[in-house]
Subunit: 265 residues, 3 copies
């Protein structure tokens, strides 16, 4: 598995997939830099007048609803519909799911276009499962990991998707397997948008990986290990943001395999 994950990292560097992002204003710069550092090619565009053409030339799509509004949500729906129709893998990052009824309504519509992957934190995954099921037992808003796993399983089953729950442990659930990644560092939660970078990297990796769940595991461990190593050279979240990009760029196989903490079941 370790060897396989490092091969995924190399595949992204070699193939440089074109990743189309409709993401939030806060993280666009960092997301683009994270993709470039990992070897991918970011596109950021959202105009309804061109979104279908853009999706057509991309290898994968990332939809992050962080700063959505009425216009952008229509773009996101067009992008998701197009990606689904022409079989481009796509990632849904349900930022702030459950916070407002507007978000939940757009998320409900987006889910109909079968995201290849859904990546969010425990609360978001729980909120997302609540939107889309009448089975609410065990799915409450306490955001404990076990609840999130149950919520994720509902989403996996209902949409035949892969769910990645980000946290101290990243849990990746597919219809056939569960992978746990225990990399990362708590200081990463003090840098805005690293969850969004995780979703963007997932987009790059599912563009090249045959085994999508393994691709997502590679993306999460790459970011987590880059974060761990970057923290060592950082005085706080400002320098961590910078050093993490450097480390995504110059991570070696030795660094990756010696720090990887993965469990599969």
């Amino acid at each position: 598995m370790e060897k396989n994950l490092w091969q995924q990292v190399q595949l992204v560097r070699q193939q440089s997939p074109l990743v189309h992002n409709i993401t939030n204003y806060v993280v666009m710069n960092n997301t683009a830099n994270a993709l470039l550092a990992a070897g991918a090619s970011p596109i950021m565009a959202h105009a309804k007048s061109e979104i279908r053409e853009m999706i057509n030339i991309a290898h994968s799509v990332v939809i992050n609803i962080g700063t959505l509004d009425e216009y952008w949500s229509e773009s996101m729906l067009m992008a998701a519909e197009t990606a689904n129709a022409i079989h481009k893998p796509w990632v849904l990052d349900p930022v702030g799911a459950g916070a407002t009824s507007f978000r939940d309504q757009i998320l409900h519509q987006l889910l109909q276009f079968h995201p290849t992957v859904i990546r969010g934190n425990a609360s978001e995954i729980i909120a997302l499962a609540k939107i889309n099921t009448t089975v609410t037992k065990g799915v409450d808003s306490t955001a404990e990991s076990n609840d999130a796993v149950e919520a994720a399983q509902i989403l996996v089953q209902q949409y035949n998707t892969i769910v990645c729950i980000s946290g101290e442990t990243d849990i990746i659930l597919s219809p056939t397997q569960t992978i746990q990644i225990k990399n990362g560092h708590s200081l990463m939660t003090k840098v805005t948008g690293l969850g969004c970078s995780a979703s963007a990297l997932a987009g790059a990796f599912i563009a090249v990986a045959e085994d999508k769940a393994a691709g997502i595991a590679a993306a999460m461990s790459l970011l987590g290990i880059a974060g761990e190593l970057a923290v060592r050279e950082s005085k706080g979240p400002g320098s961590l943001q910078v050093n993490l990009i450097d480390k995504l760029y110059n991570m070696t196989e030795e660094e990756f395999t010696s720090h990887l903490k993965i469990e599969k079941s």
Copy 2:
């Protein structure tokens, strides 16, 4: 006073207030990182379909008109109206006041919802007072500090608000007191959006402070001292932006109290 201000810094770190920002595209990433580094929790959202719900869950609101347009200005007005109606403290950052009639018209409307604090540079405060008063004596566009103080006093009186004039000396005027903070460094003016970070931090501090003017003084001195200390380790404005976030995060009581330059009258 020194002890009191440091207590405010600790309050933000302990309570981690949820600060809702409708701010400009240029600074969103830095603003979010400054809030996280100081211990607060940023939200960035602007959709008219959800703005009221978002304000409802936030502890304070920051409205910064930097890159406003027709849609965003309607969001800002909804946010200000909601904040005022449900008694959430809110900050107005009148970026570019006086530059165009559109800005002045939106600012005029925003002022009707009684911002808890207005933070701007001398020119912006002078322009803002001009918009909203027929008393124009002493309020001209030369942007000298004394003129700004007179303009600030007009705004304080007319809207029962607190005004913070940023500059080499930050002057905070409330109906009952005047506080001067002499921290900061001239290199900070070469980093885009540190004024916007000041407004965002003011938002975090008025969410937790009972004495709002003292809270704003704590926010301004925290940013100013972080800037002074960060400059020492910086080779230019690029590294200053990074080091300042680090210093907001790891500032100690000793650093804060030994560098604080405050005068109250």
Copy 3:
């Protein structure tokens, strides 16, 4: 020439021109910081309700279509029309030219307002020439430099503009001269938006330079040399982005003239 270019760098620092930017979300922060570091004063605003007033107070205008949509493209057209009408120099950065028909249609309209400079990479310049000419011989999509030069010559002739083709070698073509700048470093392509920073700096320099082509050459060499020197202190693209801003700010005449690699014909 070397002496002349350094004088342009000093002119920007002394005159601090007001550069109005309608640019993309991804790079706004970096672009503003690059302009500040070089000594210019950035404005970022796009509202149709104020764009004409803003252009009126600016010394130059930069239009970058990176994340355009229907609203923003109308703003861009108003800005270009105004700049052309009141003789403010303006830069067109045709990001993603040729990628979608929407982009090409907006670019076609923007070109009618005679940009002072067009700055793009080889593929973008080739795509742009294709949009606006029926002479397609030699202008294909292979993006080789020679093809881009031919495409640039067509644009120079047709719009009486200056074209700057960015790449390993920057080629600046005006109706009367060709300048080649061989500064820069390949790691710069791993930082998002340095091309956009190049366009923004071109905007600052044409605001102060009498010889616009020399001004653009100064902007490109300043950025290229800053990049070369910054790479030496960087561990990857994250730290390069930071160090490059520092170096734009503190570049000395000795550093500039000793590293400049320029050829004129």
